[in-house]
Subunit: 327 residues, 4 copies
């Protein structure tokens, strides 16, 4: 289902080239000020324009349809709509017979029996994350005691940020794409959020992180590197009565519950599957292996625009946890 | 909530040193043969005994309390109980004042206001995964078309399996612990399971994997390594009408849906937090930093016993997806 | 949460006098034809106009925003929007100090701390059932093997349909309102839908029926009258191998599961709380009991327009049950 | 699924003649005292013995398996087990071919393809409500500010309590059964619980009430009788700043939310389907209509024992609402 959250519930809808896409957010407290201006910052961070991002430009102006009265939330669901404007569906005509490698084209056709909207990936498009970012803005406002930040810590295999620009321009030059790793941090998270086992903070946060198109890995604290350490190296000594720890290899989570330290989560974003460079794929019409050159407009590195989406995911997950942690 | 699954629903309960622990599994089809013998194999794999596992030995005999009549499932919930036998609670007396670093002790005390059962971690204990393994056995039977396997591919930082035994014995010798990486694979998974976005296969599987104590990272296909590749290297070319791909960097999942190829998921298991080696922690009673030497009985490497738990998690997740994928 | 359904999931949003209201329906099978024409019939039945219905006239034209491509459902969520046009908010100014008896005004103000949209009841308005009717249309199409009908069997205390017109006009004349009882029937329902206990068909259907504003009672089969019979009178003898019963006092449901006979459910709809006739209420501003005469525009009998809403509720509930009944 | 509740979650399991049945309750606050003695009162009220109740006597001693440490809840799930002792399965042998009219026998056989446990109705048995009563005890303790009571207000068609004893003994004498109406009341309920639409208090409470075997009708406040009144008669005037109303035809609920007044809900309990008196049914073996005389042991009036179950249902529903009402 296109929905996340038990108490702070986010429902997304829409397609890349449909009339509009959007989000419904339920479980918002009444009386919170909410205006279009609140969305500008994060939507701008998600918007394309920088080198390595798609030449498809959308104004992405949100329209608040419900749940706000005289500038404040009413406690009813907030519906936000984004009209699609700059659509060029013609680009996608040939993709029905030529599924793009590592894209949803082929499975979507199987699953939805050719009825999936093929234009720009339809509902599978990363463009649908617009609603996620809008919901993230509301989550950040509702959980204002928590501050969330993100950083691209690895791009095209390099952890040296000064290389990033060059790595991107090389990828663009080669009609290719690169992946990256985004680190998100949350400060000011209360102690004891989450549940042991099935609703651990890692479970809830990863559930949402893996719903971002292109994310293929999620780790907390020392993560995969921690699995190479010994317990004596990886354990975080508690140094005061507030539970502060000398190190944070646990990423702020023990036994599935927040421990009051900074939450640290990293996500692996794969290189964009859409590349201009010629690839081989199967033509379902003539049943031959054929070269495919993808036109259309796409990002050489989705990690660039995914950072703010990941922040939104973390904000939404923590806001839901804040509400469904048993008192 | 101590529960996972929308259609194939698993509910766990119990504590490490309580009277019993167990699991309720709902959504089981009627008429499936189910006997105690079905559980033996996987429970044996989870049981301690091998070098590096806890000296606490439990027979772990399951007791089927409901949902089975004359050797077949009835369609009603199956309740399975495991009695705790070999408990030595005295070991844990001092942990209330001396929270074990990187353990749930401290957060549990905060969250449950000192009422958490402190014996062996109470409900936070890895022992509660017994119920998960039992549910996994049922999931594997119900989804018999899917075959699931697992392998420890990294231990204490080494990917050379011939080193594993030595790495473990060194850790035990040093009163320390090591972590590892487990890879799970699922073959025979139908095409099109999952949903784009919030119920992506990665979301559902990771949700459950991260509920296994000690898991701090989850990746699919090429995962974090894939984020270092270019699109032209990471993409999986489709080579036939069945959607078979030349490579499987996607780990069998595109756009959140299964693509018919093998599902590959890896989990990072941290080194056991409980180590005999002396650590520093905060004594909440006298408010001093004090050395802590953990008695009790524990594993030098939980990854050894977690492999079958991870298989269970994957089996449960896929069984639930098999049922809640819209037709 | 403003949502119903596990597999066939309906999410509503909007306010009586907001910009728009609507519904998101998820879990729709791909490839079902869906056009605006499909909605006309049921929306017309819900629309006002007949004697006893509000003089507020809305065209209620649905706008399909997503989930449909070239006239067929894609398998992605269908979002439907209705613009509010004929709003006269001024009518509602004084209701903040003068809560209407038996209305949501007072509790909404308490719950949402004065932030609830007071115009026409805001999100509490019966107008929000527009989305429910639209979702019902989709449910009826998806569960086309089931045929659903409804009838007003009691109005203002009379079961004689020939009296209904007079009863309504008298109520209007007196500036008063009347209630009624609606009976819904479903034919062609497969055997075995539902679950014993918490997801009994009665549980699921009543859950949705009681979400229709004004419904204060729900009964199945012989219902309250059956409680006055003896077992020998109320039991339904099985007369053939298909399980057909001589009588249908069970309303098509035994042990919480459908038995293959017609499902019969009746709902009690209270008389409209909004009446022109002067009532006493408490003025929160001056803390006096004061007479209240409600202007605005309302129905003298909401049962008239609720019948199609009840059909929608039954269709949605059965469609969800069709999908979440374990196979 | 055999489960109710979002925050205060109740999961039941077991069969009438299986080894044991029970309940898991999750979402219990930590530190609440809980002992076996807490269950005695309500379990005794549910137990048989009075005229008109089954001669099958069970001690119904609860066993607390988990979630309680040193007499207090730990915050982990509480599992409670009841062993079945006094089982006489032989009674039910012939019911496979001879489904009891208005019983689950026939639909259960269809749904679960003959694998349903036929002994005493298996999981469909009213005996499974034992777990519901136990969960109700915990709910009442957790929501101690709310006081819940119940009363049988109608039996065999009479509202004169002095007739009840005679009505029962006549039914027993005739080998027949009678139904009844139970009224439950809750005092001390905070204002504003519930949600407009799908999680209205009526929706949540009726969902649970209709999961009690034999319940075929639910009404709140004036209910079906209110549908015969005019708005001017049915409306509840607000008489003070606390929202107190002069009458309570709304049953304490407006717009789906609690209004602070007493919650009043009535349920119609059908006459026991199992009667000794000879009935006609279909013999699936020889495909003939045959007379059926039901042996076994049953209640002449399940309403007698259902009152405490209905109280439990109301307590569970309100406890869940107390936790999942958005703050």
């Amino acid at each position: 289902m296109n929905q996340f959250g038990r108490y702070f519930r986010v429902t997304i809808f829409g397609e890349s080239h449909g009339e509009a896409l959007g989000v419904i957010v339920d479980g918002i407290k009444a009386g919170m000020s909410l205006t279009l201006g609140d969305f500008e910052g994060d939507l701008a961070r998600r918007r394309s324009g920088a080198p390595g991002t798609t030449p498809r430009h959308e104004s992405d102006l949100p329209q608040i349809v419900s749940g706000v009265f005289e500038g404040h939330t009413t406690g009813a669901p907030v519906a936000i709509l984004f009209r699609n404007e700059n659509t060029r569906s013609s680009d996608y005509a040939k993709l029905i017979d030529h599924p793009r490698p590592s894209h949803a084209d082929w499975v979507a056709a199987q699953r939805f029996e050719q009825y999936n909207d093929p234009r720009g990936g339809g509902h599978f498009s990363g463009r649908v994350t617009l609603g996620l970012v809008a919901a993230g803005v509301i989550a950040k406002k509702q959980s204002s005691s928590i501050s969330i930040s993100s950083e691209i810590i690895e791009l095209g295999g390099s952890r040296n940020t000064t290389d990033f620009e060059q790595i991107i321009s090389n990828a663009v030059r080669d009609g290719d794409s690169v992946g990256g790793v985004i680190e998100c941090r949350a400060d000011g998270v209360p102690i004891g959020l989450g549940e042991p086992f099935f609703d651990s903070v890692e479970s809830i946060v990863s559930h949402l992180m893996f719903s971002i198109p292109g994310v293929k890995g999620v780790e907390f604290g020392s993560g995969f590197a921690g699995a190479r350490l010994r317990g004596s190296e990886n354990n975080d000594p508690i140094i005061d009565a507030r539970g502060t720890t000398a190190t944070n290899n646990s990423g702020g989570i023990n036994g599935g519950l927040t421990n009051g330290n900074q939450i640290v989560v990293r996500i692996a974003v794969k290189p964009t599957a859409s590349i201009e460079r010629t690839q081989q794929t199967f033509n379902f019409a003539n049943r031959r292996i054929e070269p495919l050159t993808i036109g259309g407009r796409h990002d050489a590195c989705i990690a660039l625009r995914a950072a703010v989406v990941a922040e939104a995911a973390l904000a939404i997950a923590l806001t839901d946890l804040l509400q469904h942690t048993q008192k």
